[in-house]
């Protein structure tokens, strides 16, 4: 599966989802006032390291069984060290691709998660750079 060029992302906008809302009745203080907590910020949950986090759009379904579908947006953290069995965005011979990174001894494979796509064994003379580690998958439900 080939993914699109990464989309840099900055956790600058904040999405505020109120923890609870109380209807204020005129003349009476809200009984919830003393219990207000700060709103939830989705960026806080999805983006651990804003300077190193980028968004990447997926096209193709070779990662279907890992829950990554065409059109999804990947949250990619470049500051994480890629480990075996992690889903990564990699640059292979000048193209961006998302795959599961697998190491067997000295061999490196980029594994698809879909039976119709065979694993790619990365040969010595191929140009492979792990671009970043996928931390979240954003999938639109409708």
């Amino acid at each position: 599966m080939i993914v699109g060029k990464p989309i840099p992302f900055e956790a600058r906008t904040k999405l505020h989802v109120p923890l609870f809302s109380a209807i204020v009745q005129a003349g009476f203080p809200s009984p919830a006032d003393d219990h207000m907590e700060k709103s939830l910020d989705l960026n806080e949950h999805l983006v651990r390291n804003p300077a190193a986090t980028f968004f990447v759009r997926v096209r193709g379904d070779s990662m279907r069984d890992a829950g990554i579908l065409s059109g999804d947006i990947l949250v990619v953290d470049r500051s994480l060290t890629p480990a075996d069995k992690q889903i990564v965005v990699a640059m292979l011979d000048g193209d961006f691709t998302v795959k599961r990174l697998c190491r067997k001894g000295s061999l490196v494979f980029l594994k698809a998660e879909n039976d119709s796509f065979p694993p790619i064994e990365v040969s010595e003379n191929q140009d492979l750079v792990i671009w970043g580690v996928v931390t979240f998958i954003i999938h639109q439900a409708r």
Binding site: M1, I2, V3, G4, K5, P6, I7, P8, F9, E10, N49, P50, A51, A52, R57, V58, R59, G60, D61, S62, S70, R78, S79, M91, G94, D95, F96, V129, W131
Partner: protein, 420 residues
């Protein structure tokens, strides 16, 4: 005290490469606004002899023969990548001064030396994809110089610690005066008349002579070469004195209505900048000019300014003031190359004196709400999604940016399409 100067290598070209791996290893140049001149080059492009600041058309042959990737400047991308690099650096050192879009001075702790600089460099590279060079020394001028040496000497792998690498004079002897930060070609000529040609010469020159020849600023530079800090780290950016928005046209413009559209567009942009900084402008300056590089054409340039009845950042007010100035200075029969607007007399939006002619409070609130709504929509949907009527819709005068990479950083609607 130790200071590091971190400089991104071929910054614009490097930004493009992070998102387009096909550009890696091939010569890349980035062109100025209007695709006019070369303003950034990858190492491969430098090796082809493509010079900084030369017009694109002069290089067309070289571009074609060598498969050079030629890109329009994508400032939205470079700005975003710059703030990422700066944010990584800020997390790693006690203090810093952002000196330009791709350079920062850092103050280092006592223990932070060359191995720290290597860690810094590797971290910026891994997190953002941008390669940087680091120069370390006791003063800003020396740190700049060390950085230059780090860049020009591949064996150093991007890091040079001036004061820990033997006698600094050896390094200083390799740097011409014109290449010292703050000296430049003109002052270097004056120094050369006194036999001072390299940084080492200037370091050991007679200080009273240096002061007589270059003034106090020059003397400070010479003292910094001796390792005596005279320039401090400016950690807080000075407040803005003026806001400008001006651009050259994609083609010559002769008609007033087209100039008006362009100026209204720039003024709207300046209004956005004012509101983003919570500022109001007291004065508006407008200018027009023809193309001085076409001496065979009739030349004209003019400017005018007005002080507003009270400081404002309300775009319709700014546009109507700017357009009235433009109509005053416009002369028919010229081929205009550029127009623009400056706002000066900036004051904080919080403490404005109300004038006698002020609108009632309710009306002010409504105007502010309108301007904020427009800014919000434009931030979400892209620049000028909502425009004021005076800005026009066709904008045939607009900048040429035929080879710009996508707005990877700034727009959901601009998401790159990928293959399956």
């Amino acid at each position: 005290m130790k200071i590091a100067l971190v400089d991104c290598n071929n910054f614009y070209a490097s930004c493009e490469r992070v998102f387009n791996p096909k550009l890696i290893g091939c010569p890349v140049v980035v062109l100025s606004n209007n695709d006019g001149c070369v303003i950034a080059r990858s190492e491969e492009a430098k090796a082809l002899g493509i010079r900084m600041g030369t017009p694109a058309f002069e290089n067309e042959d070289t571009f074609r023969r060598n498969g050079v990737a030629v890109l329009s400047s994508n400032y939205a991308l470079y700005g975003d990548m710059s703030s990422r690099v700066m944010s990584v650096l800020r997390q790693m050192v006690p203090g810093m001064e952002v000196y330009s879009i791709d350079e920062a001075f850092l103050s280092l702790d006592g223990g932070q030396g060359e191995s720290f600089a290597r860690e810094l460099r590797a971290t910026v590279r891994r997190w953002t994809g941008i390669p940087v060079s680091v120069g370390i020394a006791n003063t800003k001028v020396l740190a700049k110089l060390a950085n230059r040496i780090a860049k020009k000497t591949p064996e150093l792998n991007g890091v040079f610690h001036l004061t820990s690498s033997g006698n600094p004079d050896e390094a200083l002897a390799r740097v011409n005066c014109a290449d010292i930060w703050g000296i430049g070609r003109r002052l270097a000529e004056r120094l050369a008349s006194g036999g001072i040609r390299t940084a080492r010469d200037l370091k050991h020159a007679d200080m009273p002579w240096v002061r007589r020849t270059l003034g106090v600023v020059g003397e400070r530079i010479a003292r910094e070469l001796n390792g005596i800090p005279c320039l401090t780290l400016e950690e807080v950016a000075p407040p803005k004195k003026g806001i400008a928005s001006a651009r050259s046209f994609g083609r010559p413009v002769e008609l007033l209505p087209e100039l008006e559209e362009a100026l209204a567009t720039y003024t709207a942009r300046a209004g956005e900048k004012l509101r983003a900084g919570n500022l109001l402008a007291a004065n508006i300056h407008v200018f027009v000019e023809t193309n001085p590089f076409k001496p065979e054409q009739a030349q004209y340039s003019a400017g005018a300014q007005i002080t507003l009845p009270r400081p404002s950042n309300f775009t319709p007010e700014l546009i109507s003031a700017a357009l009235s100035l433009l109509r005053k200075i416009f002369r028919p029969g010229y081929r205009y190359k550029k127009t623009g607007v400056f706002m000066t007399g900036l004051v904080s939006g919080r403490n404005v004196q109300l004038s006698l002619f002020d609108k009632p409070q309710g009306e002010n609130d409504a105007r502010r709400a309108l301007a904020e709504a427009v800014d919000r929509i434009n931030r979400q949907l892209g620049t000028n999604a909502v425009r004021y009527g005076a800005m026009g819709t066709r904008q045939r005068w607009a900048m040429r940016q035929e080879r710009k990479s996508r707005g990877f950083t700034t727009r959901w609607t601009d998401l790159p399409v990928a293959r399956a």
